[in-house]
Symmetry: C2
Subunit: 145 residues, 2 copies
């Protein structure tokens, strides 16, 4: 928790009960979630909590690299906690299709091939997004595979 608090401070954001609760939610669940899912859970314990507050805070945390943002099914956006040592160091994430657990994947899949791609296409690569889907150990077992 402390490292995320520190990241909020570095981003000039105040440490409020709402922000701590959102962080605690992601640390506890370890899964990705929509702002609405987070809101439904937290407003029970927090009493009053506005959905826009959750949207605002999750987006801000995404800007600071605390949360990863991924396009899920059905035109919705999901956020997951990034546990990488240094979120600034480029890496990818893999998400379990069974339980929505998020895990960091070190290194970059595109980096080593970028020269080849540029040579073949004539494009100069400026960026990329990679979304990996999979099944975690527990869900492989649960799936009977």
């Amino acid at each position: 928790m402390q490292r995320y608090i520190r990241m909020l401070r570095e981003g000039k954001l105040k440490i409020t009960p709402r922000r701590e609760a959102i962080l605690a939610y992601f640390i506890k669940e370890g899964k990705y979630a929509t702002p609405e899912q987070v809101w439904k859970k937290l407003r029970i314990s927090l009493g009053r909590l506005g959905l826009p507050t959750v949207y605002r805070n999750m987006e801000e945390m995404h800007q600071l690299g605390i949360l990863v943002k991924v396009e899920g099914v059905e035109n919705r956006f999901y956020y997951g906690l990034c546990r990488a040592e240094d979120p600034q160091v480029h890496h990818h994430h893999i998400i379990c299709q069974g339980c929505h657990k998020v895990r960091e994947v070190e290194g970059c899949l595109v980096g080593s091939l970028s020269k080849q791609i540029e040579a073949k296409t004539g494009f100069k690569l400026t960026g990329h997004t990679v979304h990996l889907q999979g099944l975690c150990q527990s869900c492989i077992i649960a799936d009977g595979g």
Copy 2:
């Protein structure tokens, strides 16, 4: 054009003036576009044209592998014509940040590394999406770089 017409037939979709116009749009422009952009252009030449019709047709063409669908900025979806020999053969696309041109990238960036990823994470990979952004030859020059 003929190959896309054939793909529509194989998908049990009728060949209508609206569908031909949408295909012609993408063949001519060679860029990705939102349903709204396509609609604004085509309703001039087609007279009456409903925006829902464009949404419906573009989504159907996406299902058939005729159009690629990518998440753009600002929570909107863009579609681009897939010119790959066989769209069923797995490949990626790179989109020019300057002019929005779409180009196929043969091969798979994840495939050769999937074993490593699985070994390192313990996940079993079930799928992935890769979005490459870049600058095409013309836009590199226009950019002065």
